[in-house]
């Protein structure tokens, strides 16, 4: 078995491989079957999987590529993830994908689906309009229909029509996967010194390109190995980091947080992989059960309409559950969903006496001085004034 460090190194290689070598491998092992790329935040991966496809979660290109043509498609005041995604598309890195799925997230991702239609007219492109109406007979029916069409698309590109058993099996595999990830997060809460924040990020991120069962195993392996580590808990503060659900921060940012005296005990990185809060019970009609789960079991997210805004109380509950000292708002620059939610969340934290700071990043930010300075001051403040 690989050591924890080896697993992380492996995951980091997967993350840096923007040319998707793993997907190439998968396709050679499963000739004729399709791989579908999808953008953050949440996508119905179960359904693609059940129809014999490989869902590949794309999240920009981090710091890994120079943006040349991607910049030609986006103005400076648009977040970074669409430009790196387009760059990868134009340089051919995404050619291995048989189609692209754009789950409704924000205007940028929505319009990116149109850009894809214009730039790659031969590639199947599907916009997945996740319902913002959560009534079973309205949003639920609409979503189920959407899912059926998605299945048709996968089938038309080399997948197979899934039976109810297929769907149920896929649903269970993803339940397992979420539970594994959840166990990793729990370990982090209990013994934050065992799992550095970049490690947690990378290990979960590997699920973007791996087959689900393989990834579940990898997460379990990592947990087992991490538990054998002998590291002493340091005098750091415990923080929850939120806002980074779509464009992912550079790894250097996570390391800077750790280095400036923080333990990140929860975050919304890789949010799509932890989206459903409970297991989906496939029951007699797995597709319906799966669609319903979206309506009733989704986590709170800035991309989703909240009829009675529960985001703020849920954040507070999370802070409590994770025994966090404070909250770090880390959002991509120009990310409307994340940034528009901040004032409300900050207000409730202030009222409840939970300290918080905020900063912005881009996936390819290379300088963390300012962030270190702010996070350091933040941890200083909790440590020094907590005692003073």
């Amino acid at each position: 078995m690989m050591t924890a460090e080896e697993i992380v190194a492996h995951c980091e290689r997967l993350y840096a491989d923007t040319a998707l070598g793993t997907v190439h491998d998968w396709k050679s092992r499963h000739p004729g079957r399709p791989a579908f790329g999808h953008l953050p935040v949440y996508a119905p991966r179960e359904v693609v999987h059940a129809a014999g496809g490989l869902p590949v979660a794309l999240a920009g290109a981090g710091e890994h590529v120079d943006i040349v043509k991607g910049d030609a498609c986006f103005q400076s005041y648009i977040c970074h993830i669409p430009r790196s995604t387009v760059e990868l598309g134009l340089t051919g890195d995404l050619d291995v994908l048989d189609g692209m799925l754009f789950p409704s997230t924000c205007d940028v991702i929505r319009n990116l689906s149109g850009i894809w239609q214009l730039l790659f007219p031969k590639k199947p492109v599907r916009f997945i309009d996740l319902p913002q109406n959560f009534a079973k007979r309205l949003g639920g029916d609409f979503y189920q229909h959407d899912l059926k069409e998605l299945i048709d698309l996968v089938v038309a590109n080399g997948g197979k029509q899934p039976t109810d058993e297929d769907l149920a099996r896929s649903i269970r595999l993803y339940n397992d996967n979420r539970n594994a990830i959840s166990a990793l997060y729990d370990l982090r809460t209990e013994q934050p010194q065992l799992v550095a924040s970049d490690e947690c990020f990378l290990v979960v991120k590997a699920g973007a390109v791996l087959d689900v069962a393989e990834h579940t195993q990898l997460v379990h392996d990592f947990i087992a190995q991490a538990k054998t580590r002998k590291k002493k808990k340091e005098d750091r503060i415990r923080v929850v980091m939120i806002g980074a659900f779509c464009e992912q921060p550079p790894i250097g940012l996570l390391r800077s947080l750790d280095r400036s005296g923080c333990y990140v005990v929860d975050d919304d990185l890789n949010l799509g992989m932890r989206w459903l809060e409970k297991d989906v019970e496939p029951g007699k009609n797995p597709l319906e059960a799966f669609a319903d789960a979206y309506l009733t079991q989704s986590t709170w997210a800035s991309t989703k309409y909240e009829a009675d805004d529960l985001r703020a109380p849920k954040l507070l509950a999370l802070v409590k559950r994770r025994k966090a000292d404070g909250v770090v708002f880390a959002a991509p620059s120009f990310c409307d969903p994340a940034l528009l939610d901040q004032p409300v969340l900050q207000k409730i934290l202030s009222v409840s006496g939970v300290p918080h700071i905020a900063f912005k990043y881009a996936e390819n930010t290379g300088q963390f001085q300012g962030i270190r300075e702010q996070a350091g001051t933040f941890s200083d403040s909790i440590k020094l004034w907590g005692a003073a």
Binding site: D107, F142, Y305, F334, P337, L340, V344
Partner: protein, 444 residues
């Protein structure tokens, strides 16, 4: 929209619009004392007729924001919102509105706006709308009705989309309106209003299409934001709007018969030198300066997409086209410009370039607005490829003067127009005058 811009000659239609607006805001300011209900809602895909059926008075926060900008108030409001913790990166319409709210919610006519009884979140073509009203709801704690209008990624809305919207209208929106207003829904009253809407829409389309003439009697961007005002906002489905558009049409017919160009703040445009199509909203803080850059050079906008955010009537939609009024409303919401996929937007622009015989295309990219801006550069490339006509790309903001640079935009537009004229002349430009300069003998 406002009548702030003083046209050289006061048209009847303009005065009527002014009156309509003034009346509306006075009524709003007295809504509380008169026991009238107030609904806040957005322009794209607005359900004005439906609100009207329940006698709920509409307020459009977007329009308030642009009005604040025209009155040079937006910068202060935005600063206020940023002080309250709203990020500098996010949509300035939202911040302008929040700022205005915290400063007493004084509307464009100087009268106070009432708080909403209903937030009607008909969420067409922009996710930020959703966040915006979530914020307002925190503030007002009133009833909120959400209408999720699905995006149209293909060429046509599917029947599932139409039914989804209709279902939400029936089960979510109308019950909330009934609850807020205490009135029962009357489908016949709605049908009657939709008929009136359609009559006004016919005349509006005629006016917008008059720009196909040479010279165009209207400016389909700067001038037309005034023309679309009543249809965008609270007056659709009223007799007032029908009369307004009838008068407007008569006035434009008149200009056309005299072969006159559009009216600008400096009077009638003397010579139409360039015919342009424009994509994207205008800047409001420096509206006249922005306009001047174009009319000083004899450039006229003959078609714009911005005037279609409140409905795409020129491609045929009319509010009375369906027997089922709710289905008509669903079609309307789904069909607004910003709900179109990018390929559809390009198709529309291409059609405009051809049908309006345009010389050029200008994209005004708005920093605030991802809904419009994300992808505009790709659209521009595609459009250039299809039409063979080069486009110009400029950047500004709707209501934040910090992002408007007259010098930059002027530089770009002048270069662009010179380029168009060079193309027109087949590589030869207008003649520079021959200058006889005193020659320094031998130099130094």
């Amino acid at each position: 929209m406002s009548a702030d811009v003083k046209h050289a000659q006061k048209d009847v239609s303009q005065n009527r619009q002014k009156e309509m607006i003034a009346k509306h805001f006075t009524r709003l300011s007295k809504a509380r004392e008169n026991g009238e209900k107030v609904g806040y809602t957005f322009v794209p895909g607005n359900l004005t007729e439906l609100l009207g059926v329940f006698d709920i008075l509409p307020v459009y926060p977007e329009i308030n924001a642009l009005q604040s900008a025209m009155r040079q108030k937006s910068a202060g409001y935005i600063r206020e919102a940023e002080r309250l913790g709203h990020n500098e990166d996010v949509c300035t319409y939202v911040k302008c509105d929040i700022g205005m709210m915290t400063q007493g919610n004084i509307g464009p006519t100087g009268e106070k706006l009432p708080p909403p009884d209903l937030l009607l979140l008909s969420y067409t073509g922009c996710f930020t709308f959703m966040k915006w009203f979530e914020l307002l709801r925190q503030e007002y704690g009133c009833e909120i009705a959400m209408l999720h209008v699905p995006y149209v990624p293909g060429q046509m809305p599917t029947s599932e989309m139409r039914q989804y919207v209709k279902g939400q209208l029936k089960d979510e929106v109308i019950p909330k309106m009934e609850k807020v207003s205490g009135k029962k829904f009357d489908p016949d009253a709605l049908l009657a209003r939709l008929k009136l809407s359609a009559r006004a829409e016919n005349d509006l389309v005629w006016v917008l299409e008059s720009a196909k003439k040479r010279p165009s009697p209207i400016d389909a961007y700067f001038g037309s934001v005034y023309y679309v005002g009543p249809i965008f906002t609270g007056f659709r489905g009223t007799e007032d709007a029908v009369s307004y558009y009838k008068e407007l049409r008569a006035e434009v017919e008149d200009r056309m018969s005299r072969g006159e160009g559009p009216v600008t703040p400096d009077g009638t445009l003397a010579k139409e030198k360039y015919r342009l199509v424009v994509e994207g909203p205008p800047n409001w803080t420096n509206f006249r300066d922005f306009w001047r850059i174009f009319y000083d050079e004899g450039a006229v906008f003959v078609a714009s997409t911005y005037t279609k955010v409140g409905g795409l009537y020129d491609t045929g939609f009319r509010h009375d086209q369906e027997k089922d009024p709710l289905l008509a409303l669903a079609d309307y919401c789904i069909g607004c410009y910003t709900n179109l996929s990018l390929p559809q937007r390009v198709d529309l622009l291409e059609k405009y370039v051809r049908e309006y015989e345009a010389d050029g295309v200008v994209f005004n990219s708005i920093k605030s607005c991802n809904s419009f801006s994300a992808g505009q550069l790709v659209m521009l490339r595609e459009l250039e490829k299809r039409t063979g006509i080069p486009g110009a790309f400029i950047e500004s903001d709707l209501v934040d003067p910090r992002y408007y640079s007259q010098a930059n935009i002027k530089n770009r537009i002048e270069s662009y127009l010179q380029m168009l004229s060079a193309r027109k002349a087949g590589g030869h430009v207008a003649q520079p005058a021959s200058l006889k300069l005193p020659v320094v003998a031998g130099g130094h």
